[in-house]
Amino acid sequence: MKYMVTLLGLFFLANSNIALCFDVVEPEEVGLSTERLKRVDQLIDQHISEKKIAGAVTLIARKGEIAHLHAAGLADINKPMQADSIFRIVSMTKPITSTAIMVLYEQGKLLLSDPVSKYIPEFKNQKVIEMLPKGSDFPYKLVPVKREVTIHDLLTHTSGILYLASTGWFPNDKREQVVSFYRDAGITDGFCRPDETIGDMVKRLAKLPLYAQPGEEWEYGLSVDVLGYLIEVISGQKFDQFVQTEIFQPLKMKDSHFYIPEQKLSRLAADWNSDWKGSLTRVTGPLIDGDLALCPNDAYETSGKYLSGGASVLSTAYDYFRFAQMFLNNGELDGVRLLSRKTVELMTATNHIGEHDATLLHSHGWKFGLGFAIQQDRSHNVDSGDKGVFEWAGYYSTRFSINPKEQTVTIFLSQTSPFGAHFGLWDKVTALSSSAIAD
């Protein structure tokens, strides 16, 4: 039996005011267990009652149908979380940007093997930092790149470009030195929206030393922001316009934006600071921790210059489900083909980063494709249910997971800082989603 949750009044098309509704099916219709999905609700509700998080939206879909959509807790002070609440998805922007690059790839506008300097000349003659032995009269030297950074390197985070915040994750002298150049040149991670264009930032970044030779190390960083600017150069359109035209509109992601329209401001969930022990406060200003600078309140800006391919998008659980389902459908959704099956296969292949592992949000046993981490085996600490599961997450505690074998999409959206405490919760959500499969 199919029941309909009509979300009239919740989802309005931005321009036409036509109510949009979608079906939530009985879990058993798509081989999921209602009883077991309740465990997801219980898990989230427990975290809310313990004041670890203020609220969250979880969405679990299978075989193209949403079987679970749960909004719980608060979106803001005295404002309950809604299924259509809008979230800062931060690094979940990266798969969208990577998809935009692959749209250009399918249009014959670029090759993944193209050196970035073909489009952004500032990437010519790049240098790589090499630390000199302790006791040397100078701490480092800069050596020429063995080969140029390619578009593939940017998609797979093997370009040698860092995040400044990485000094906090994996501190070492070499990283500190590279980041000191970033600071000197006014490079930021883009989590606080700078008052400049992405092109301004990327052109400066290109002239600074790389952390490693292109292709030789997996280093999560600003590579996808460079891709955002590359899209502008190659397409001749502003990055946000290109994404709007080529991804958001075809997939009917009506609540996904780089800058939120004024009429949707009331739907934007607030960010909360949690000590994970019961102290939960609404964030009112920037969050600075060493080189990590977060400005959650920048999301209330309705316009601006900076369009970060790695961090700027605001979206809903339903919109991101549509994006994820397009991948499960091998590149098409509701009769609209965004990517070919072959391109989806290429993006989700597990051998893009060679012997390296994408350990930042996961563990060993996870590889990185063209835009997301992919589970390669089931013998390591983080298990999302199958080999071939691909997923990524965002700084304010958001995560999506796509399981091609079981045809499931799992989305968890919260807005809670700091970031580090959330891995366990995310892993439990994916484990509960996976264990709700009942066929």
Binding site: T150, A185, D195, K207, L208
Partner: protein
């Protein structure tokens, strides 16, 4: 005739073999074959005098390029966003020269630095005048800024500001302008043209709120520093001085200034303090 035909086909065969060998072994990414010019000159971004986005890389770079070309001094000018990188190339990779101002050189760097000023310009203190906060009062003495916050770039000399009880905040100039708007920084010291250029580019709607304080704060010299330890360093410095004097004398210097600044009545002030001998 038969021999000629044989010779022709042998030639064609060799040509085909040679071409296919070249393609089979040649690198696919040609740009990686290019390397930087051995005579490197690095410049620090300082709009509008040095700018990677401006035509001819800005006023100062155009003047310097004109002299380099006239004096046949070979060198590629690379505008960089980081002072530390420029100093690295100068001191560690023996670059021919660096371009900018206030290099903050240490003793060993100073020993090999042959500075030739190319432009002189007045510097002013600027404050941000908003509805919530009026412009600062400046009477020519730093004590009038006591307890205020001075914004400057990292590495700049701040001794006298600290001595006057002034707090210091470091950032790039673009960020400092934003910090002034956000009341994190009370004043900066820059050439008027620089503040005009950056506020026009980044904050056109607030441009009029950045107020120039009289009297002027001082002057800065922008120029080129040749590297005495570079094989061509001393010779190039000598030739550059001659070339600079020539273009000042023959009016080229003025015409470049005019091109960038228009008929600014104060234009000649940009060269008034040059002492190029």
């Amino acid at each position: 005739m038969r021999n000629k035909t044989k010779l022709f086909w042998s030639f064609v065969f060799c040509l085909v073999m040679y071409s296919s060998t070249s393609f089979a072994t040649g690198p696919r990414v040609a740009p990686s074959l290019f390397v930087a010019n051995v005579n490197q000159i690095h410049a620090m971004e300082f709009p509008p005098f040095i700018s990677s986005t401006a035509k001819n890389q800005g006023l100062l770079i155009e003047l310097i390029k004109r002299v380099l070309k006239a004096e046949k001094i070979a060198g590629d000018i690379n505008v960089l966003p980081s002072q530390n990188m420029i100093k690295y190339y100068f001191s560690r990779e023996n670059a021919l020269a660096m371009i900018g101002h206030d290099f903050n050189l240490n003793k060993s760097e100073q020993k090999k630095a042959l500075f030739i000023p190319v432009l002189s310009t007045d510097e002013y203190y600027f404050s941000y005048n908003s509805a919530e906060r009026a412009a600062l009062n400046w009477n020519g003495k730093l004590s009038s800024f006591q307890d205020k916050t001075y914004g400057t770039n990292k590495g700049a000399s701040v001794k006298k500001y600290k001595a006057a009880g002034i707090k210091i905040k470091y950032a790039r100039l673009q960020a400092l302008l934003k910090k002034m708007q956000n009341q994190e920084v009370d004043f900066i010291r820059e050439p008027e043209l620089t503040v005009q250029t950056l506020t026009e580019q980044y904050m056109p709607n607030e441009k009029h709120l950045f107020v120039r304080l009289e009297p002027k704060a001082g002057e800065i010299l922008l120029g080129i520093v040749f590297n005495a330890e570079h094989p061509d360093g001393r010779g190039s410095a000598k030739k550059f001085k001659q070339g600079l004097n020539k273009i000042i004398a023959n009016g080229e210097f003025k015409s470049i200034l005019q091109k960038h600044l228009g008929d600014d009545a104060n234009m000649l002030s940009y060269i008034k303090h040059l002492n190029v001998k």
